[in-house]
Symmetry: none
Subunit: 535 residues, 2 copies
Amino acid sequence: MTTPTLDGETVEIYDTTLRDGAQQEGMNLTVADKMLIAPLLDELGVAVIEGGWPGAIPKDTEFFALAAKELDLRHAELAAFGSTRKAGARAHDDVQVRALLDSEASIVTLVAKSDIRHVERALRTDGEENLAMIADTVRYLTGEGRRVIVDAEHFFDGYRFDPDYALRAVEAAFTAGASDVVLCDTNGGMLPDWVHAVVAEVRTRTSGRLGIHAHNDTGCAVANSVAAVQAGARHVQGTVNGYGERTGNADLLAVVANLELKLGARCLVPGALTEVTRIAHSVSEVTNIPPFGRQPYIGASAFAHKAGLHASAIRVDPDLYQHIDPTLVGNDMRMLVSDMAGRASIELKGRELGIDLTGRPEVLTKVVDRVKNAEANGYTFDAADASFALLLQEELDGHRPAYFRVESWRASVLYSERIGGDGECEATVKLHAGGARVVQTGEGNGPVNALDHALREALLGTYPEIASFELVDFRVRLLDTSHGTDAVTRVLIQTSDGASVWSTVGVGPNILEAAYEALVDALVFGLVQAGVEPR
Amino acid sequence: MTTPTLDGETVEIYDTTLRDGAQQEGMNLTVADKMLIAPLLDELGVAVIEGGWPGAIPKDTEFFALAAKELDLRHAELAAFGSTRKAGARAHDDVQVRALLDSEASIVTLVAKSDIRHVERALRTDGEENLAMIADTVRYLTGEGRRVIVDAEHFFDGYRFDPDYALRAVEAAFTAGASDVVLCDTNGGMLPDWVHAVVAEVRTRTSGRLGIHAHNDTGCAVANSVAAVQAGARHVQGTVNGYGERTGNADLLAVVANLELKLGARCLVPGALTEVTRIAHSVSEVTNIPPFGRQPYIGASAFAHKAGLHASAIRVDPDLYQHIDPTLVGNDMRMLVSDMAGRASIELKGRELGIDLTGRPEVLTKVVDRVKNAEANGYTFDAADASFALLLQEELDGHRPAYFRVESWRASVLYSERIGGDGECEATVKLHAGGARVVQTGEGNGPVNALDHALREALLGTYPEIASFELVDFRVRLLDTSHGTDAVTRVLIQTSDGASVWSTVGVGPNILEAAYEALVDALVFGLVQAGVEPR
């Protein structure tokens, strides 16, 4: 039967998580969020990262300004998104078009109308002027040295209504110098055979490279993207985790996995496919939108087997029950994680942290049990190496290093209309260290901050090494939101001593207790790492 | 271009939510759950409801016994799932085959092997015996008056490896009297063009009715199901909400919507398509798995628009921006408010909330400014309708409803090793309501929970309506993680009064101040909505 049909063909991968993905309900990416996500996409080797719409959205203008100074991309180029010039004006007089140049992005992606009904009813101009708007704007921007991609909005609906006009819009873009025209299923209503037929027809009737931009309203965004490539498109737009307005954009990493693994195309930099699970989850951490367990290829459940019917056969012959080897996308077959692979990966992880577990099978068994139990209670060690290292060391030594003992702590917030402004936050810690009992109060702009200050100040006399520790990142996640404020809270923090950064985790019934646990782990790990003995 | 190609053709819809859907990670359906879900599926008019595997799973045996007595289905027939007889035995001696008859289900669905590698390596028998197992079991059960459907497991993998053997398995089933042979993409690794090609080939080489059973491992389960029908299959299996093992089964209602609305086929009873959103959400209530907002057709976000670019055009001409009229599947168009929103989307949103802003351009301008300013400071309104409605009403009236005035509040957590266990959380509120000053302390398992309790208890005397309010969801997000614990915190909460749910937002320098703001908005909105006047 069918074998790979795109063998060795290159497909350009264009990520629009930061622009179209950000249209998702409940997502509100800050400039800092975008600065965190862009390098993750770059690690995968996507060709283009669309950063936003400078000139239209102030936050996006700011992002491009910061990116030009501070973002050091190895593989990807940044694209600025914007629209063609206004009707009846000139491209170089258009403030929004100039803002695209000012963004300093080497690629400009212009959204253009190709459905005559949208031209007349939404843009309120005529077909000829719209074609002139496309041609002028593309010509002006290419003249300024930019690569210009044209997103032909509502293309499939437009083509099905009036193919000749839709094709004229594509030709106007190519003639003016666009590198690619991207056929957009903006409303997401297409099915794969329709997409295939339209792309194949457009390909025979135009000259330039075609792209595809699909939305998931029929549940077919991934299939529509693949169908377009099979019909000759060589540029694919989508978003990490399928983020986007309504039902979302095409899940870019699922499309890439299909193109590379099923059809033999080249999309990412070699070797990067094994990182997609990790990167997709890291992006979720930034967007703070919980990952969808059933997500193809990268979901936590994607290779999790439950069927008792298959269990013994899977053990013998996993290839019979998996469409691909999950390690190809950096995912795991979950059934085996509990025994064989679990032990192996923990041994590997220990080695990575400088803790040798070879020849200590009884420790390994205990650590596997503790990790499984802890993860069932909400802990995660993927993003908390330092907490994991302390757990491992504790199982090896039989105890934790006894730097200090906390007798009690209290943290509070007081808001009063008489004081005005923000509330007053303070924390008091009572602890034993260096043979003395210390009572210390700290203040902060939140109760966690106050608790962090109280803990450090209480310990500084005994452990002056702590002076160089700084809390550099702090994340909160509620793990089970079905019980309102009764949800379990997980806190992940990163601490730095100027030379290295370490991550710790805490889980508790509320943010303060979870944060306290992560803060204590951070201090203990920092002292261990600095070679400090308990005093 | 392409128009409906299945005009008036009937496609049999086979729901396997209760059997294959129940393999989903984290799902554990009780007999009572199944008794609640089956009538919901019947309301839609699916042709077959697969209830489980009697004889193999005790809970399923029990379900069929209870269903035979108490389940009164108007449209659907129940199917019992099971496997062909054991190798080397006789069908009527096989305990599990007899259990299928004992279930009293009028339809029996037999899973059968069609991939020679699975026959040899998992079943550990030979090709001829497997064919005899299929033929004997089908013949025995049809002889007992049952309609028999055969699920050809791993069919596509098997066909691509050894088409002749796979076809012999199909023919064995049809010759013995099976009404349908369902081609299963058990591992979920197929793409639509492969499915189309295989189904079309099998159709030319066999005589009976073919079905499709797809899994979503490539993100193409819906597209694969549609492709199979386009190639001639006339029976589709899937699950509500795409539940199922790994990445899930084909989302049955998305397949049905595509077949009916895009291709003109007949699947459900006439008129039932407008009920699919309600039914899918009701099934979520029973399974207790939160609905996925981006789910095609039925998700809460499926017809939610955020982009300011489009809002003004949507107002004029919604059909330009929706692939279907959402009421066709019982869903609604929603406008989301964000910093990308302009005047048009805010006017539309107001209308949706029952607040008319036509002829109030000065209010509109002020609201747009406040929204943009608030979102720049970390607020988000697309997930906080109630806070947005209060903002809008405040701009219209010039003030907020004065239900109460908070003089001060304090919340604290105390942890002490002498007490042990979790920390003690309490909050004290001092407020003025109903002409009196109230001082009230609340406890909780976290400081936010304690503050929530203190606020409600302080107000209950004056506003007993609050007794029915319940906090049902609580989300925290740190908005700028580059400053450690100095980050700004955003809290989104959902509150219910049993009849409706509303969402509010708060932003502050820490979780408590942010939560306080969202809690107050939630109480005020609930009182406004209940028509309560300030006392």
